[in-house]
Amino acid sequence: MLLKTKTALVTGASRGIGAEIAAALALHGASVVVGYHTRKDAAERTVERVREAGGRAFAYQADVRSMDEVTVMVEEVVNRYGSIDIVVNNALSPYSFNPAQRRTVWEHNWEDYQEQLDGSLGGAFHVCKAAMPHLQKQGSGRIINVVTNLIDFPVVPYHDYTTAKSALLGFTRNMAAELGRFNITVNALAPGLTQGTDSSRETREDVRRDIVRLTPMQRLAVPQDIANAAVLLASDLSGFITGQCLRVDGGLVMGS
């Protein structure tokens, strides 16, 4: 139970990687807040899953793009569970991952990039800003920002999505530099293509096969792989690891 007595807020946790992270943190003893925007039913299922396994959780609706809504959400977390220790920024503006229907770079407008920046970066910014005072007062904290290994290797160029995630990585490093002295670690988690999530549903066999062939561990990620890495970054075991981008993709991408 690596996370006993800890409280975690996971945004975008109604399904996919976010839900799996929430469940894994809870399994290791954390009290978890399952943040969601529209999928209340799915968020409740995640909460149910945590409770059935003997953990503590509740779902909270908020649009991470709104500072006000996020402020209220973080207040609620601290009220209900007494503290906030771990923040996982996984939410993003709705995105359709479809290699056959994506926009090429010459078809994009700035608004597309802005929308993704508002979700991935803006959302993380709001949550961190709201949570920071609490973490600073505590003298400890874990911030985990979910990016993507597409930053290093855009095997499918989702321009707006991946650019925003790149910004989130820059945000992560700079926060790490400033918050380290408060004993707050800030790291990025970069999943590879993960089966069973919205981001992989439309990916056809040929692309999957290409990725698997180049992956040392010869398979795609499952949500559990990403969740396990999140538990590591959330725990005391990673207490001296900060500003890092931990790629969880079976070795597809290596190095800086």
Binding site: R45, Q195, V212, R213, M217, Q218, R219, L220, V222
Partner: protein, 491 residues
């Protein structure tokens, strides 16, 4: 979840329009979209008689008047619907088949879409063209190369007994029945009673009167009254299944009726050293593993064992270790169905036997999953032929050259048990190996990774497809000349 979801009821049968019977519901199936119950008609001999009478009437009123070309068109349009991801029957199939069969949902989704592509018009034309130089012989008397004329006639009533191990196999049988303008009664297995029903529904959407010559019904195997009635009325009976199923039906079919059986078969793979170079070995292993994993090895075309040649970058035992790891990974992508006790024990028995051999230093090595007997690979340092208990249990045999193994396969070949050999070898070896395999009774030679996708027109179990179901009537060569004399104008 304590949320009570509404139960969906699905008809697990298809009848000509205007017929309805009392139904009972099957046990509840839990699917990703909620609980489902199947509606099964309550049948007896009398009701079956009525159904058959209806089928036969609809056949003579309509189906028999269509040309082969018109029938092909209708089948093609019906199957094309399945290439649309939102087609309601396809959505249902993707939801229900995993729950019914236990096979992984993603595997079913992938295999189903590949399979439905084999019913497109061009494939149906290939299928017919394979066996008939002049396909019009199915519609009318056609001139023969040896003089005279011939015409082919299909069964008036075809009784088909389907198995449930691989979803959709019944569709080829149904297609053949339609192409031959036969009324058909399909008895499905409760293991998978729905694909045939959905296909009949697709056909009905295209041409309701055509579909009225088809009835798809589930009833418990061994229902004497129903089987005897069906056999009594049919002029041709086909059976798909294991030895017991085939023998039990065969015993009831009198000698004068045509009986076609697709019985138990085993398939295997051969890997030459050319496929085991450092740049090829990984893709070789992943292709073969996929052939093992889909349908949990239950297809007659699934490889039960593989022969690995010496001389590659990886030896046979290394191959066994790697394919075991790959099966472990595939368990994540396409989880194996959960097994009945009997099936699980069969696997454990094989593991135990070879663990003992391994411990005694007798040249075996067992690679086994830790949970639920999900996958098993058994390495043997000398080759022989031994069937596997399936459900992702693979024997890996070391051999010097794959050709050396042929004599060991001969007894199984002679017993009519061998079907597909999937191989990865240098192209210069293809014909010689094909010759040797053909000699011992193997009827399909293909590349690994494609073992489960037979191409249209293949000789299923080494036999003809449509040809096995038809009879010919010949107008003898000399008749037309001789008959001229009865025309008063002829001189």
């Amino acid at each position: 979840m304590n949320e009570t979801k509404e139960i969906t009821r699905i008809e697990a049968f298809f009848l000509p329009a205007g017929m309805s019977f009392e139904t009972t519901t099957s046990t509840r199936i839990l699917t990703s979209e909620g609980p489902v119950e199947l509606l099964i008609p309550v049948l007896d001999g009398e009701k079956l008689k009525m159904i058959i009478a209806n089928l036969s009437r609809n056949r003579s009123d309509y189906l028999s008047t269509l040309s082969t070309s018109e029938i092909i068109e209708r089948i093609a349009v019906a199957s094309e619907k399945w290439l649309n991801p939102s087609y309601p029957q396809r959505v249902l199939a993707e939801q229900l088949l995993p729950a019914l069969t236990g096979y992984a949902a993603d595997s079913i989704r992938l295999q189903l879409k590949r399979y439905m592509r084999t019913f497109r018009r061009k494939e149906l034309l290939r299928f017919i063209g394979e066996e008939f130089d002049d396909p019009l012989v199915l519609d009318e008397f056609r001139p023969r190369k040896s003089g005279g004329f011939s015409r082919a006639y299909g069964p008036k009533l075809l009784f088909q007994v389907f198995s449930g191990n691989v979803p959709g196999v019944s569709l080829w049988s149904m297609t053949m029945g339609l192409l031959l303008r036969s009324a058909q009664l399909g008895k499905t297995s409760m293991a998978e009673p729905l694909m045939a029903v959905w296909f009949a529904q697709s056909l009905a959407e295209v041409d309701a009167k055509l579909a009225d010559s088809i009835a798809i019904l589930p009833w418990k195997g061994g229902s004497e009254e129903l089987e005897r009635e069906a056999i009594r009325q049919a002029d041709t009976v086909t059976v798909y299944g294991g030895r017991l199923a085939v023998e039990s039906v065969r015993a009831k079919v009198p000698i004068e009726k045509k009986f076609v059986a697709y019985g138990p078969k085993a398939s295997f793979a051969m890997i030459g050293k050319e496929a085991l170079t450092p740049d090829r070995m990984n893709v070789t292993i992943s292709r073969l593993a996929a052939d093992v994993a889909h349908y949990d090895q239950q297809s007659c075309m699934s490889p039960q064992c593989v022969y690995i040649e010496d001389g590659g970058s990886i030896d046979a035992q290394g191959f066994a270790a790697l394919i075991a790891a790959e099966l472990g990974r595939l368990q994540l992508r396409w989880p194996r169905a959960s097994l009945a006790d009997q099936e699980a024990y069969a696997i454990l028995e094989v593991r135990n036997r070879y663990w003992l051999e391994e411990a005694a230093g007798e040249g075996s090595a067992v690679y086994a999953s830790t949970k639920d007997a999900q996958w098993t690979v058994v390495y043997h340092n000398t080759p022989r032929f031994e069937g596997s208990p399936l459900n992702r249990t693979l024997h890996v045999y070391r051999c010097r050259r794959v050709e050396d193994v042929i004599p060991m396969l001969e007894p199984a070949g002679q017993a009519g048990l061998l079907q597909t050999c999937g191989a990865a070898i240098g192209p210069h070896r293809m014909f010689a190996l094909a010759e040797a395999l053909g000699n011992i009774g193997v009827n399909r030679f293909c590349h690994i990774g494609s073992m489960l996708q037979a191409k249209a027109g293949w000789h299923h179990d080494g036999r003809f497809n449509l040809m096995d179901l038809i009879r010919f009537t010949d107008i003898e060569r000399t008749m037309e000349d001789e008959l001229e004399q009865y025309d008063p104008d002829f001189e």
